[in-house]
């Protein structure tokens, strides 16, 4: 029982990270029907920004500010930086292709992905960095109940990812830009007729989606996973898988898909096989696609007639 509970907690933590990545895919797909395959690399850039902010503030062993403030600054700078990167990617890789075939932005996305990975290799070398979180966030932090332990870092990542999801839902549901974004996703021409500046809303969409990926990147570092130029590939694919499982274009779908994928992966690792956990998670994608081609919460067909 406690083992199962522990796996569930770990899975939800991981799933929160996947959900944040999945949200970025779904938001961009919603307004532009583009699969932004550079998204995983934006996540990588976020992890690097977080790392360098941490080093810049004195490093894990001798932080020049209180640890809580340091972590806060790491998130803020990483989210702002990746958000701006998202705007730049949209401006130069997608906007010129707005009226071309559907395949063109996809190719462009792969180009941006390769560009970012290699730029990171050039700038930061191939060394794998780690945040060394355990040296400044004591593992005694956190709590346990009924034999399930959730350490401070996991608890923090889980709470923050849920908070970001709530924040996003609030932004999408109650602000003018959020409403405009949904209006564009539903009927772009009608949105234009209402006076909505589509370019501005698209910029916001890319900013928010990339900032969420940046936050996910820092979370990855805090969870003691390696930071390197190629780290975005697999989480990027998993975030995309989560978005598709939930129903691409659907915001609650991306959240559900991410959490589900994290839990399944964690259970697969805990009960079946560590080596085959990816096989099992991607098999989940196939099963969902066979049973519900539009995803769990997706409504419309993906290709419009």
């Amino acid at each position: 029982m406690s083992y199962l509970g522990q796996q569930l907690v770990n899975g939800l933590t991981l799933g929160g990270v996947y959900a944040l990545i999945a949200l970025g895919y779904t938001l961009v797909y919603g307004v532009l029907q583009i699969l932004n395959f550079a998204h995983g690399d934006v996540y990588m850039v976020g992890a690097f920004i977080g790392f360098f902010v941490m080093v810049g503030l004195g490093g894990p062993l001798a932080p020049s500010v209180p640890v809580a403030i340091m972590v806060l600054i790491m998130f803020l700078v990483a989210m702002l930086g990746t958000g701006l990167l998202g705007i730049v990617i949209e401006r130069f890789a997608y906007r010129p292709l707005r009226n071309s075939t559907r395949i063109a932005p996809l190719i462009s996305a792969l180009g941006v992905s390769i560009l970012l990975q290699n730029a990171a290799l050039l700038l930061f070398s191939a060394n794998i960095r780690t945040y060394d979180t355990s040296s400044y966030i004591p593992s005694t932090l956190g709590f346990s109940f009924a034999d399930i332990t959730i350490d401070g870092v996991r608890l923090f990542v889980l709470v923050l990812s849920i908070a970001l999801m709530f924040g996003l839902a609030r932004w999408v549901n109650t602000t003018q830009v959020g409403r405009a974004m949904r209006a564009i996703a539903y009927d772009r021409d009608a949105a234009v007729m209402m006076g909505i500046d589509v370019d501005k809303v698209i910029r916001w969409t890319f900013f928010v989606s990339a900032a969420l990926a940046g936050a996910a990147g820092v979370m990855n570092g805090l969870l003691l996973r390696g930071v390197s130029n190629g780290m975005g590939l697999v989480p990027g694919l998993k975030g995309f898988t989560a978005a598709v499982i939930g129903g691409i274009g659907s915001i609650p779908g991306a959240m559900l898909g991410g959490l589900l994928l994290g839990v399944v992966e964690s259970l697969a690792q805990g009960y079946l096989s560590t080596n085959f956990s990816d096989t099992i998670t991607f098999a989940l994608l196939i099963v969902v696609m066979l049973l519900k081609p539009n995803g769990l919460l997706g409504k419309r067909a993906i290709v419009k007639a």
């Binding site: 003018q176 409403r179 405009a180 949904r182 209006a183 539903y186 009927d187 021409d189 009608a190 949105a191 234009v192 007729m193 209402m194 006076g195 909505i196 500046d197």
Partner: protein, 238 residues
Amino acid sequence: MSEKKPLLEISNIDTYYGVIHILQQVNLRVDEGELVCLLGGNACGKSTTLKTILGMVKPKVGKIMFAGEDVTHQNTPARVKLGMAVVPENRRLFGPMTVLENLKIGAYVRGEAAQEDLERVYDLFPKLKERSSQLAGTLSGGEQQMVAVGRALMSHPRLILMDEPSMGLAPKLVEQSFEMIANLHSQGVSMLIVEQNANMALSVADRGYVLQTGRIVLEGEAKELAGHEELRRAYLGR
């Protein structure tokens, strides 16, 4: 009789779709407070005229003046900001959003929607107040029409462009729809209505234009047009 001030004036508009010449030398004017209808059969360029006025389609030559400004090269959001609002063909509501959200989208160019503007729409269409948290896509055709008009009013428009307000509505609702248009007109709202139902449109309009294969072939006071032999034969006789 009050002094006439042109609110919208389009002159010598030529619009193409690719190589197909749609509008040819179209001239049209709407004065402050006036209700003008643009009549014509299928595929004669009515909707294209509306799209050209709104900036969704760019004319090859010609000039569009609105509210004292040359808007020929402005994009649609800029024109909406200047005071154009549209009730599109088939209403084009945002179906998965609530009635209230649809109305708020209508106020987009003004920033956040003001409560008094919402109240004004609810006064005009009390039914929408009851339905405010319902999804727009689940409303009946008549109610959707109310949302579409309410949404247009939310931006404090100086001119409302209506594309086929009778389209897809049951005869009784068509009548209600035109009653509502007449009502808005009596409150001083300027409107340009594109319509196939010439009888209905002329019964509420001040003036009218008749478009045929991309050219204005007739124009005049609504009363004169309603009695015009050629128009009767072409559009009203059936």
